[in-house]
Structures are given as C-alpha cells and as structure tokens.
Symmetry: C2
C-alpha cells in the first residue's frame, strides 16, 4: 500500500536550549540524550517497517551531512538533500517535494522532525498510515498532538468537523493555526478540547503541496522550478547554490498552511511525544530515580538532592550536590551550566549573548 510513501526528515541545525551540550557543530538531533542512539538515529529507526531506507530522505546542511550519514549508514547517500544555507521550513518542504516528485509523480510524503521524542512508536506508525490514506484523498494532513498541559512553547491547531475516518483514526478539518500563545490563551485552548499542538509533522501528496506553492508562494515556486529543471543533472548543486541565495526565508506554517485549502488534522493522543526542547523537558521523557533526580554520566553524590538533573560528560569527575532542588547542572568540560529548572528556557538567551559578543563555547 505504501509504495508511493516517502519520509523526509528535517535535520538542520538548532537546539540552543540544550546548550552547552548542543553546539553549532553538534546540534540537538545528533545528541545521545535519550538513549544510546542520537535523536536523529531514533527518528530514522522509528520508520523501520513502514519505509524502506531508500524511501527516507534527509534535508540538512552541508556541514552536518557527513556526520548524519555516518550515524545512519543504511540511508543512501543520494537521499541526503543539502540546503546551501537555511531558508526556513517552506523551502525545505519545497525542495524535498521537487526531488521526490521527479522520482515518483504519485508520491505521498511525510515531513518529520529529527529531534523529537516519541514513546509509542507503534502508535506513531499507525498515525502515519492513517495520514497517508487521508493524503491520498487530497488532504494536506497535519499531525497534531493532543495537549497534556497548557504549553506556551508550541503553536496550536484548532480542529473543526470530522472529514472522515482513516485507518480507524478521525481526521478533522483545520479551522485555524495559532502561534505560541500566552499562558491564559494556552489554558483556554487546553480546556476547549478542540485544539492540538502543532507537531511540525505533515503528510501530503507532493503534487498537492506543490500546487499550494504555485498558488501561495509564486516567487519561491519559480525558484523551485528552476532547481527542478537542473535536478539530477551535473548543474544541480550550482543551480541550487545560486537560487538559494535569493530565497526569502519563510516557514511552512505561515507561508502555506495557514491559508491552504483542504487542510486536515489528526489530533494524536497517547504518542508520548516531546520536543525535548530544553533541559527540563527531559524529566517528561526519562525515568527519574527515587528522589526524582535524573543523573546522566559522571560520578554523582547527592545529599538532600531532589528533582534535579545532573549531566556530566567526563565520567571521572565527581559531582556533589548538597541541599538542592529543581536544579539543572550540566557539565561539558569547557562549560558548566547551573540553572533553576523553571528557567531552563532562558538558556537560549545565554547562547544568544555568547553569539552577540563573539565568544567561544557555542
């Protein structure tokens, strides 16, 4: 049934809130945070059984491609699509759609993230099958996440009437996309029952999404067509380089989804999804010890230590915590971060400051 189904993993940079572990040269998806495998490897492995390796594409930057390819040697090298420079998710989707469309005019593609955690892989694959079936009916399907708390860090999708049941899952019309809300708004949406988090994962026919590019983003569409002309020829890399210089950065949400036609959502519950966005989010993903602590690496002695995270790269270092609670301690050798758990989002500000002041450590 899924001979025409292709997966595209977006694996660019990012993850500044997991600094100092995540760096420019070692972004979030390459970290072995959750398991022996990196988040990227886990993202590839959870497609096993549903996609053959040659049906899995990766969009990333030149500087990361080799490392990612080494992490997943079973993926064909030619399935790594290299963006000359980051231009937002709209161009990533467009580029992947162009490449896949040339290979298979009847393709359905799923856009996936490389750096999210999903506990229930079987349920996830079931969701991808349902979305595939809905996409065959012409819908642009967004994979929603049934919210478990009033998150202010995610965008939301408001779901309307049911469009059908595919593979046992209800598919609903999307009424509205909403950007990251404030606390009050998030509470309201949580209680409404008809809102889902925007996971950033989408399923659609390549011709359907390319039609939306032609309709809504004519400039980008023309640029994509220029790339498409050269795709597979010796001029491919040069043309992509030249064209990408001109591409205006835009997100797929703002550029396409918000005003697209036939947009549907499957609000998935029970996936155990987390964006592993910041140090505190690891408490949602990993099991804690009897004191509620997450101790990762190193030699740790905790006295009167509760609900805290200790991450140490150097196994020979001794870390002693004494009388601390809700604290995050991350030691990467060159950098030590000590952070109150509820301030973990602000790590991003530190990275920004270091970048602004031209300091090392990023």
């Amino acid at each position: 049934m899924t001979d025409h189904y292709y997966a595209v993993i977006m694996a660019g940079g990012g993850g500044t809130r997991l600094w100092p572990l995540s760096r420019q040269a070692r972004p979030k998806q390459m970290l072995r945070l959750i398991s022996e495998d990196s988040l990227f490897q886990v993202a590839v492995k959870r497609l096993e059984g549903l996609f053959a390796p040659d049906h899995i594409y990766v969009v990333t930057g030149k500087e990361l491609a080799n490392d990612l390819s080494e992490q997943c040697p079973n993926l064909p090298k030619e399935n790594f699509i290299l963006e000359p420079m980051p231009r937002g998710t709209a161009s990533v989707v467009g580029l992947a759609a162009v490449a896949i469309q040339q290979r298979d005019p009847n393709a359905v593609m799923v856009m996936l993230t490389a750096d999210h955690f999903i506990a229930n892989v079987a349920h996830f694959q079931q969701l991808l099958r349902a979305a595939y079936a809905a996409a065959l009916d012409g819908y642009l399907v967004t994979l929603g996440i049934a919210p478990t708390y009033a998150a202010t860090g995610y965008g939301y999708i408001q779901a309307g009437e049911q469009l059908g049941i595919y593979q046992g899952m209800g598919v609903q019309r999307v009424l509205r996309f909403k950007e990251k809300p404030d606390e009050a708004c998030a509470q309201q949406m949580l209680q409404s029952g008809d809102h889902a988090w925007n996971s950033g994962m989408f399923v659609w026919k390549t011709d359907a999404i390319l039609a939306e590019f032609a309709r809504q983003m004519p400039a980008l569409n023309a640029q994509l067509q220029e790339v498409a002309q050269a795709w597979g020829s010796p001029r491919q890399a040069d043309v992509l380089d030249q064209v990408w210089q001109q591409v205006k950065p835009e997100t797929i949400d703002y550029g396409i989804m918000e005003d697209a036609q036939n947009v549907a959502v499957i609000p998935a519950a029970g996936l155990g999804w987390s964006d592993v966005g910041s140090w505190d989010s690891l408490f949602d993903v990993l099991p804690t010890d009897e004191n509620g602590n997450l101790v990762m690496g190193g030699h740790h002695i905790g006295l009167d230590t509760r609900s805290s995270l200790v991450y140490v790269e150097n196994e020979r270092r001794l870390i002693v915590t004494l009388g601390v609670e809700d604290l995050i301690v991350v030691d990467t050798g060159d950098v030590l971060l000590v952070c109150r758990k509820d301030q973990a989002q602000k790590v991003r500000q530190v990275v920004h400051h270091l970048k602004q002041t031209n300091q090392a450590y990023i």
Copy 2:
C-alpha cells in the same frame, strides 16, 4: 619592649569544610582564598613590625613543612617545629613552649592560628601588645572575639571582673569556657553581653604555661620534659618521634585552660575576625558584587543570580548560572560541588563519606 615575645603559628592539617578546594595535601591554610597570599602567608605577614622573622615559629606536620616554608622563605627553617603526628593542640602548645623556653627562659609566647582571617591588622597588633603586657603580670591570656551573631560553630568564654587595663585594653577574668552551644544557648550568650568567642589564640609566659602542664597534665608534661632533654641535640627528631607515639591526643582548652589559674580574656571587638571555616563564611570576609555574588576565578555569566558563590580553578572554563540564589558552586577540575549556602557546613560529611568509602578526591 617585645624582645622576649615569640609567635607560634599552628599550621597543621584540616579545613574539610572548604573541600573540594582544601585537600589532605593542600589544607586550608595553604589556600589562596582571600587574597594573592595564602591564609598562612597572610597570618605571617600580619605579624610584621611586631615580631622579627626569627621570633616566629610554625608547628606543622612533616608533609606540609616544605610547602609552608616555600610560601614564607623569610622564616628560618629551624623555626619550623615538626610534629611527627597530630596529637591535639595541648601537645602543640607544650612542644612550642619547650622549644622557646630553651631559647629564652623569659619568653612570652602567643599561640596563633594559620587559617583565620583578620581584617583590621593594626587593631590585631594592638591586641597582641596588650595581651603581652597582661601575660607579663602572670595571666594566661585568651584572645576573645566579641560575638556579632549567635554562632553555634564556636566555643564561648564568659568574662568576669576586670583585672586591669593594659595598653588601653580591658583585661577580664575568665569565669568559664563553654563548648559549641546549641542555637538557644548561643542566643542567650549573645544577649548576655559578657561572652566572647574563643578564637583559639592565647598569650602567656612559657614558664607559666609549662607550670600548668606540670600541674594538670603530668603525663604529657613528663613526655615534654623527655623531648626537652633531647632538644637541640642530634637525638631530637628520634626522641620526638618515639615520645609522640605515646602522647594522648588532647586539646589545650580541655586539657589546660578550663581548670587553669589566672586565666584572663581580652574580648576584642572590631577585629573583623573570621575563621573562614566554610564556603558560606567567605561572604563575611570578601566584598560581593552588586547582586551579592562572590565570583572567584573562571569566566562567569550570571543571569538572575543572587547571593551566590562561584569559585572556578580553570580560568578557561565558562560557568553559567541562571535563576539561582544562595547557591555555592565550586569547580576544582576533578570535583564539582553545588551546594545550598545554608548547607555548606555539611561538606564535611561528604569528605567523611569519601574517606570512609576509600574514594579519591580527598
């Protein structure tokens, strides 16, 4: 006036509450915590002008003597008195008294600590002059510290009637020595107005203190006399080694002072004295920045960080603190300590645990 005045600096081991900076091989007095000079160097320097270098003695262990001597090369090597093993402060006092008595039968000696901070050095020297004058009248003079809060970490001295005024300072009879009190008792003594902290510093004529050894500690006195017989001869070190094996450990407070005759106290105020006993005590000694933080070494970025201490040995490490208050962070390379300020005393327990379990890092 002070030709017969000798200083004895007790510089044995100790300082486990300043772990992981203080170690067995690098005890508290050798640390450069307060200034470019170590606490020991500071202790020697604050005697300048009052004692010639050859009037300054140091009692320490064999394993530390070379390092201490290197820190203060102006002190004669023969003024380092080496205890074969630690046997408590009573034996330290007795040994120093024996050595100095042989050199100068009319000697007055002051016992000093190597690891305390004194802000007002001029006032300190005035105090030593007053105590010298009182000692010449036969008193065993203890240097008290007028308490500034209800400390439970120090012993106390209750002062009685005034015995005289020496060099402008009131000298009072000691009514009682009291060991470290509980919180309620400390409050009571603070409010009484007639209690001083026991600083562990004493001034007396050597013959007066040796007479007390003879009266109160006859066994130790006999051992000291055996050492005295050999002192200055080629047999000195061997005899000391043999005798010290038999010495029963005892403190000068319990062994001598509590039941001594003619014990006087000068309760000094305004010395700016601190025992620099634990990490939190550094806040009493060193100036903090505008957020109440003490940052020592390393490269530190603090966001929303207050009343906290950051000590880093490696100048090239970046330490980021985010949303923390009343926290102590000490990074010595092999060990990282993260400790709530009001738990800093418990660092001793960690060292004890490491010792018990035969671990490194001490």
